[in-house]
Amino acid sequence: MKEIVIMSGKGGTGKTSITAALGALAGSKAVMADCDVDAANLHLLFDPQVEHEEDFYSGKKAVIDYDLCTDCGICEEKCAFDAIHWQDGRVVINDVSCEGCSVCFHLCPVDAIRMEDNLAGKWYRAKSRFDNPFVYAHLGIGQENSGKLVSKVKQEAKKVAEELQRPFIFVDGPPGVGCPVISSLSNADHILIVTEATESGLHDLQRLVELTEYFKLSASCVINKNDLNEESDRAISAFCREHNIPVVERIPFHPAFYETLEQGKTLIESDNKEIIAKIEHIYQYLTKGE
């Protein structure tokens, strides 16, 4: 089984469009996992039928037991996140601002504060309209993606792939280079970096390659909108050559990306032969030897 993670640094590079198209090509052969949980969009193109859903807890929240609270106000004074306020003569914790640091819990002189597990969202196991087994998650109000949730989604996707004996897992990775990204890289067999021919595209690529090299992961690159800026296109190609990262495809700016999204379709359902051929080529590259 081969786990391929599709990453991009910043948003707007076409990463999700390409991931969705790869999923549509693979059909039941590939398990799909959406780890771009902050802006999980894959399900909009996959029209999933949910087979299983489960609550997901991450971090903690402080809760006050008013039977014990003596209104001393130490918690309000010591909270570094401005999450505890006086309201109608008693201290009240604002759930959205609470970062779960536990300082109030430790300092409360009468043990009136307890730390409860924080419900961060839900994760789902489903089947996409292309017959892919599909694992994704939704975050609750104001919750942030974490390495833990990415781990969970990947772990469930792997379980499904093992159970059903599917040869591939395609993971739509989170943006940035923080903790969720590092989690999404771990145990991966290959990283496909989707970048665009802009200055920030090169910058994001460099930061991602720093990580793939640190973790000694095999990586390849797709330059999307490669005709946007010739100079950036050249700089990205040179960078890839220098770091032994094959450039699998270059895709010129094309309204098909926008038009298919507008219709809730994937790129391989567009009527643009050139783009379909390019996606097929990427798919073959990623799945060769299996």
């Binding site: 991450s58 390495g147 833990k148 781990s151 989690s183 771990s186 145990n187 973790f215 000694k216």
Partner: protein, 113 residues
């Protein structure tokens, strides 16, 4: 000396977990007696933040002098380095038994921290 392996489960035929911070558990072997014990890592696996540094603390607490894993991140790596723990890496799919034999034969690659 004790050597810690990140493990997908408890037993010599379980595989090495390539994750460090969010590994399922640690398989700790005493190289003098070949006796093994297992330390569950659920607590770190469930951590919302800092799973790497927290797992490094767990490994240090076992008294291990070496760690075998897939790859250790930069923060956890600096903790292990400061504690004088050598880190070695293995390929995916290696069983704990094979990894231990490779370790004893000095055939594992050292991760430079």
């Amino acid at each position: 000396m004790k050597v810690a392996f990140t493990a997908q489960g408890n037993g010599w035929y379980e595989k090495v977990d390539l994750r460090f911070g969010r590994a399922k558990g640690f398989f700790i072997v005493d190289t003098e007696t070949d006796q093994a014990e297992y330390l569950d890592n659920t607590q770190n696996l469930e951590a919302a933040h800092g799973a790497g540094t927290s797992a490094a603390q767990s490994v240090i607490n076992t008294g291990a002098g070496a760690l075998v894993s897939g790859s250790v991140g930069p923060k956890a790596g600096s903790v292990l380095k400061a504690a004088g723990i050598e880190v070695y890496t293995v390929e995916g799919g290696t069983t704990l038994k094979d990894a231990y034999n490779l370790f004893k034969q000095g055939k594992l690659k050292k991760q430079v921290l």
